[in-house]
Symmetry: C2
Subunit: 295 residues, 2 copies
């Protein structure tokens, strides 16, 4: 059995994951203290509880930041205010099992590629559209981490010099156009009243044919297609899965997105990757963390 831990900004979600990628037991604890040793001790406690009952081969952890997966160091995690935390070393000195630590979006990508919507593909990309836009890339059967784990930050690919300023400081990152946050902001910008606070509300109005919601979704799809075209030209994946909250509306915008993409392909002679919805949802992070050592 493996343990997967999905470390978020406010919660620590975890699960006991079997050899076919099923979560057989699970739990979640609220983070009170962001001190690395407190959170790490919390992880040890989870391990010991499961290890008392099951043989645990691997403990995998997904962290929402830049992680050097090779040596298990969290280089930086803005949400937790962590810098250069040697998480793997800390844990290894206290428990006896394989420990692997990676980026949370990479973990989700691994989960979807092993057991979810991209099962079996060697060239696969996960894009998660939530508060921000996260990414994970399997290229040639290998997880793309880049030097010190700073790669696959697909949400921070600049696609328009005239766009909005991103949290990262740059202008026009993909995240500023296609995250749930961006959708909400763009819709509200078009409205004097009836402001919304979630992406579902925008899609609900879109389905009802409301003009401003349609304009918002049109703009979203246009930018999304640009992002996908860039990923096609950079990685030539066989498949791209869309995850995160916005993906719940995938069926609503799929046809429009595909037709925009078709119009912008680099070559008509190439079979480009299909676009699907990720299907492990929030579990992808736990399942994928448990299997981060597999790529």
């Amino acid at each position: 059995m493996r343990i997967g831990i999905d470390l978020g900004g406010t919660n620590l979600a975890y699960g006991l994951v079997d050899d076919v990628g099923q979560i057989v037991k699970r739990g979640s604890t609220r983070l009170g203290d962001y001190e690395p040793s407190v959170i790490a001790d919390n992880m040890l406690k989870i391990y010991r509880e499961y290890a008392a009952e099951y043989e645990i081969t691997t403990l995998g952890i997904g962290v929402p930041g830049i992680v050097s997966q090779e040596d298990g160091v969290v280089i930086t995690c803005v949400n937790l205010n962590w810098k250069m935390v040697p998480l793997a070393t800390y844990l290894r000195s206290r428990i006896k099992c394989d420990i692997v630590i990676g980026n949370d979006a990479n973990a989700a990508c691994v989960g979807e590629t092993l057991f979810g919507g991209m099962k079996g593909y060697q060239n696969a990309i996960l894009l998660t559209l939530g508060t921000g836009v996260g990414g994970g890339v399997i290229a040639g059967g290998k997880l793309l981490t880049g030097y010190q784990g700073a790669g696959a930050e697909l949400g921070h690919m600049i696609i328009d010099g005239q766009g909005q300023r991103c949290n990262c400081g740059n202008i026009g990152c993909l995240e500023t156009f296609i995250s749930a946050t961006a959708l909400i902001k763009d819709y509200n910008r078009r409205m004097l009243t009836d402001h919304v606070d979630n992406a579902k509300a925008v899609f609900d109005r879109y389905v009802m044919g409301q003009v401003e919601a349609q304009q918002t979704v049109d703009e979203f799809v246009d930018r999304f297609a640009t992002g996908i075209i860039n990923l096609y030209n950079i990685f030539a994946p066989e498949i791209i899965a869309i995850g995160g909250g916005v993906s719940l509306a995938f069926d609503l915008f799929k046809d429009q997105l595909e037709s925009q993409i078709d119009a912008r392909l680099f070559s008509k002679d190439i079979v480009y990757g299909k676009i699907v919805r990720a299907n492990l949802h929030n579990d992808a992070g736990i399942i994928g963390a448990a299997y981060l050592d597999q790529f």
Copy 2:
């Protein structure tokens, strides 16, 4: 010994490459006929000439198009009007040595990584700035080809929705901002007379302090920095080498480029890749083609 062939749009350059990446003999023939079998027979002739004198282990060919390196099929090569040409199969049935066929920019990247400006790096990117912008990526020690070889088309990463239309049909590809062609076009657009036909002329005027040339180079550097930031966030390379004709002016714009990049880094806690000039110049394609099987 190995043979490397760099197939261009008008010439076929080739060389006998030794085990330390030196071209010990070389030649070039003008392409008269683009018929695949004619060009392939030309390659066979080159092989036989060298094979009469040396033991040839590998014949490698870089093609300016999308090449499925796994099976040695040129999926599409616009310049030669080739589609689905099974070049490797054709050659293998006629000569006895290892044959490997890949994209020309990928070949140049392999050359620079094995023997040139990026020697020894596991996460390395080559950007060639010439008529267009080509790219090659080594990620985690492996050449990124993508499905059917259509990956690493870095010049066709869209960085601005408001830009110029690219030959590929899209608007705002990196190539439309930082290729030699783009530099020349941008400079001429600013001038009523004194139009130029090469990038060197723009940089010569830049060095002399001419206002329009400075504006052109400023704009070029600004867009170049955006492209590099995207490559940092997507791949986290240890090194990026700049090749192609424009790279001859590298020392003129290096400082300005680096300061623009520094201002836009995703995280100050990360060591991002250094930017260097490629140093095998036109030989990278021949040398890298000969060693395409090494990644």
